[in-house]
């Protein structure tokens, strides 16, 4: 169970990282706001993979602890925590040489949902749903 969850976490983290990189590239080409200094490609991928691994640990722990209700609680928690994490980019103070800090949350906020999206998308491939 933990091995499967961990692989799912890593794969969904990588997928979220790739989605984040594509989004960052698009955002830069549209707004010409370069935040590479604070949100570099490595940081985007590493942050996404870290999110995926944390989700895997949480998923495994909650399923072990709450048995049948573990997944429900996990899904709720993952969504709530992803949403709560938006406060970080909103309150983040960028280096002052970066000209347009008001555009920073617009770039980073969607990325905070990518690990959850990737997890929920890939999960059926790793954990087959039992037929009712």
């Amino acid at each position: 169970m933990f091995k499967k969850a961990l692989i799912l976490g890593i794969v969904s983290g990588l997928l979220a990282g790739v989605a984040g990189l594509i989004y960052a590239h698009l955002y830069y080409s549209i707004n010409e706001a370069d935040f590479g200094k604070v949100a570099s490609s490595i940081r985007i991928v590493a942050g996404s993979v870290a999110g995926g691994i944390l989700a895997a640990i949480g998923f495994w722990a909650l399923n072990k602890w709450l048995k049948n209700n573990g997944e429900i609680v996990f899904n709720l928690l993952f969504s709530i925590l992803s949403f709560a994490s938006l406060l970080t980019p909103i309150a983040y103070r960028l280096p002052r040489e970066l000209e347009t800090p008001e555009l920073f949350p617009g770039m980073v906020i969607p990325m905070h949902f990518f690990p959850a999206l990737a997890w929920f998308t890939l999960k059926p491939l790793f954990f087959r749903q039992k037929t009712i």
Binding site: I90, R93, E99, P101, E102
Partner: protein, 176 residues
Amino acid sequence: MNKLIYPAIATLILLGSAFAFVATSYKIADGYNIEFSSSDAGGVFKTFKGTIVFDEQNPAASKFDVNIDVASINTGNGLQNKHAKSDEWFDAAKYPQIRYTSKSFTKTGSGYQVTGDLQIHGVTKPTAIPFTFQKTATGGVFTGSFTVNRNDFKLGKPGGDVGEQIKIDIKVPVTK
């Protein structure tokens, strides 16, 4: 005729020395830094313009008339920038400029001090700024630091999270 030569020479020397004491007019070069900091807020102003006339030997002949574009404030956070420009703080729409006009200069032990009128948020207060001037090959660098009380300029509400004493650090490279 001889009687006129000496007064003429004296006049010429006097005129020559007057030209020697003409203060140098400097252009503000790129790379300047106008930084403010308090207990909870800090940032920079990105746009700084004005006239700088300065004479190290004769500071009294110097003149500073500079202004800062309030809308160029950058705290590093978009929400804070918006808040700083709002009518609760700088009210950038109504008072788009911060202006400093010098009135007198004095030489101090470690450098110089300029006294003049600082206008922020529509309020003008006499303000002294101690500074140093370091000559470079192309001009020089002015460096100064002073503190203002934001309540004097009706910036924000008294108390609150943002400290009332705002420290301002200035570094302005100039070219001739």
